[in-house]
Assembly symmetry: C2
Homo-oligomer: 427 residues x 2
């Protein structure tokens, strides 16, 4: 039996080894695009009255406005409710089952609602696991921000998805390669994905033409994708989720493999800590609001897009994308300062996601709950902001500091679990 | 009559006013894409035995290897010669008329040869003038580098141009807007134009689909454009030429409105100095050579692409594009140093071409021959390098320092012309 000090060293060695193994997976797993299909065809976790949502679990009686708005929209879209009143009765009567996207190999932007007929981006990692994320509907009064008007629903029923699906099946798109190249083109891969979007549209174009049912469908789908500055966002989230899932479940690993908000609570999951969520009240952003909205209008953090930070993009790559200053504020030099803070809480450095203006240094990779707990440095993400009230939509965007609490809780749980394992070993 | 000192001040005031007016045109003229057509349909300067070439004028008996190779290729392409021997006889017999692209509202990369059936990118400025540049043929054994094999000629006869032409006619593409956005996406607009290329391919895609003779033609053309990293280059050159021509001809202006090399001589033209070329021996690059070539293989500077520097891109925007380090050498910080040197010889700053990592400072705009003469700072451009021998092709790429001599000669000529005008006024 080891002495306490020896035991501590042995524990640290186990944790470091686990972290290294997790990092290697986060750093080397590649992701290819499979298709863009209705969620019901992709996952058993989605059914007629079984929808997914962003962030940690929550119950129907605590729904924040935008999530409620999105669920009403989804019930209308699916024909489960004839009007808003009936949809409200379904929600108030507890007649809908809800589960977190991240427990179903998915990640959803903002409200993150996935209902059966919604088109989702489906990807597969080089380790064989799949992940998905709802296709981005465009800006403004989108369902993910809680809007549910006729115009919102019409967008979800359009013909873009089938065209993209056929093109994707032929094009053999390596999404991680596009994400890496996009850093050389001024994206950070989370809020700014315009360069990646242009690459993907150009990549799919010739196949869309060859495989679409008719020319107009191909032209409309490509033009729709091109004009949406967040077209690539779900491709980025799905790729991140696939990589994060591949790196999940390594005993003793302190590396974050899940993160997201449901508007009430922000939560993380950790590679070495199984299915458990560690949560804290959802943070609010330092918001850049659209004209006509005040800070009180914004719902605290919603969305699974911080999954993107788990693979070394987004807040970890901010300084690759000075153009984000226009919507998160500050100057390019501030972005470099933020990234260097993140380096202090990351277990490693990406070998493929490189920041041109930091002499092609790799982005910080592998948020380490122990390092967050010890340093007290708040991880960073960039998110869109939804109006608090159901049915309104987006009010702005901002840089969000994530609370330290869930990371510290996870670090303690990891310590306890290593002790428990050790004690288990002793009996 | 003014005293000599007063006269000097008056001259300087005239020059500064002329520079300001030139700068305003360089800074605000926008350029739209008109089409991609055969040169014979675009310009009277091109005819059956009347071809264009890059750089200042030269005669048939002094052709450098790559230009000779390109002209042989063009004569074969046009059916003027049945084989290389016959083409050589035409050249040696003086049976071909040559004129500089830049004297015919054109700009051509590397050899810059334009013959009647070659597809050219045609653009129009917001001031009504038009300009054109040969469509880029792709990498490797391209005619612009002096290659003239069957494969080279086959590429020039393909079906890409008609598809692009029809799409361009509908798409209403503002090229200067794409160039500005591309700086936020890591291009410098001259040697690195991949981000602009992706934007343009995505922009043309839906129109290509709607207007192409058949689906396969549209798909092939878009895929060909997407896979060519220099697809955007002639769009960039043509836009620069249109803007530079709009800014040409302002009496007393010391601003450069033309620049290029013919492999023997490098030359510039100046807004206030009419059609005259000021030349010096063509410089050689600090080359990054392809495998298997030595520095002696490279022909000294060829090509009109330094036109791009006249509008504040390329060497003026190097620090927007750290990825160029991979083929011009050095580190990102070196690029910023080069741009700050260029600031010392530029009359102004672009208000639309902004460098993200210099806190969105405008690029240096308007190379001022007087400032070059006074400071002795060599302007910078980045070019591809052709093999000295006809028929070989590209051997590398590099950062090229332009000789001060033509700028100094032009500064002296400007001084003299102002004196002459004044004396003329006195008589």
């Amino acid at each position: 039996m080891a002495e306490p000090a020896g035991q501590l060293l042995a524990d640290r060695a186990v944790a470091e080894d686990a972290a290294e193994r997790t990092l290697a997976i986060l750093d080397t797993t590649t992701v290819t695009l499979v298709g863009v299909r209705e969620a019901r065809l992709v996952s058993d976790a989605v059914g007629p009255r079984r929808y997914l949502h962003a962030g940690p679990p929550l119950s129907l009686d605590e729904l924040p406005g935008p999530l409620r708005g999105a669920l009403v929209g989804a019930l209308l879209l699916e024909g489960e409710a004839a009007d808003r009143a009936e949809a409200a009765r379904i929600l108030d009567g507890g007649e809908l089952e809800l589960a977190p996207c991240q427990e179903a190999a998915a990640g959803g932007a903002i409200a993150g609602v996935v209902s059966p007929s919604m088109p989702v981006v489906l990807v597969e990692s080089s380790r064989g696991n799949r992940a998905f994320s709802p296709l981005n509907e465009g800006l403004g009064n989108a369902l993910r921000f809680g809007a549910n008007s006729e115009a919102t629903l019409r967008r979800l029923r359009d013909v873009v998805a089938p065209v993209l699906d056929r093109a994707a099946a032929c094009a053999d798109v390596d999404l991680t390669e596009i994400q890496a190249e996009a850093l050389r083109r001024g994206d950070e891969g989370h809020n700014r994905t315009v360069a990646a979007g242009a690459v993907l549209v150009a990549r799919l174009a010739s196949w869309a033409i060859r495989t679409a049912p008719d020319r107009a469908a191909a032209a409309d789908a490509l033009e729709d994708a091109r004009c949406n500055p967040h077209f690539f966002n779900p491709f980025s989230i799905a790729a991140a989720k696939a990589i994060a899932d591949a790196a999940h479940g390594i005993p003793g690993s302190p590396i974050v493999t899940g993160a997201g908000g449901n508007g009430l609570r922000f939560g993380i999951r950790v590679s070495g800590l199984g299915e458990r969520w560690f949560t804290a009240p959802a943070p609010t952003s330092r918001p850049m609001l659209f004209e006509g909205f005040s800070p009180e209008d914004a719902q605290p953090m919603l969305g699974d897009s911080p999954l993107i930070e788990t693979i070394g993009l987004g807040g970890c790559a901010l300084s690759a994308a000075p153009a984000v200053c226009s919507y998160v504020g500050g100057a390019p030099a501030d972005l470099s300062r933020i990234v260097s803070e993140v380096r202090a809480i990351a277990a490693g450095v990406s070998s493929r996601f490189l920041i041109p203006f930091e002499s092609f240094a790799g982005t910080p990779l592998g948020l380490d709950v122990t390092r967050v707990a010890v340093t007290g440095i708040e991880p960073v993400t960039t998110t869109g902001l939804a109006h608090r009230r159901a049915g309104v939509g987006q009010v702005g965007a901002g840089l969000t500091r994530l609370p330290v609490e869930p990371f510290a809780d996870a670090a303690r749980a990891l310590e306890r679990s290593s002790t428990v394992t050790e004690e288990g070993g002793r009996t």
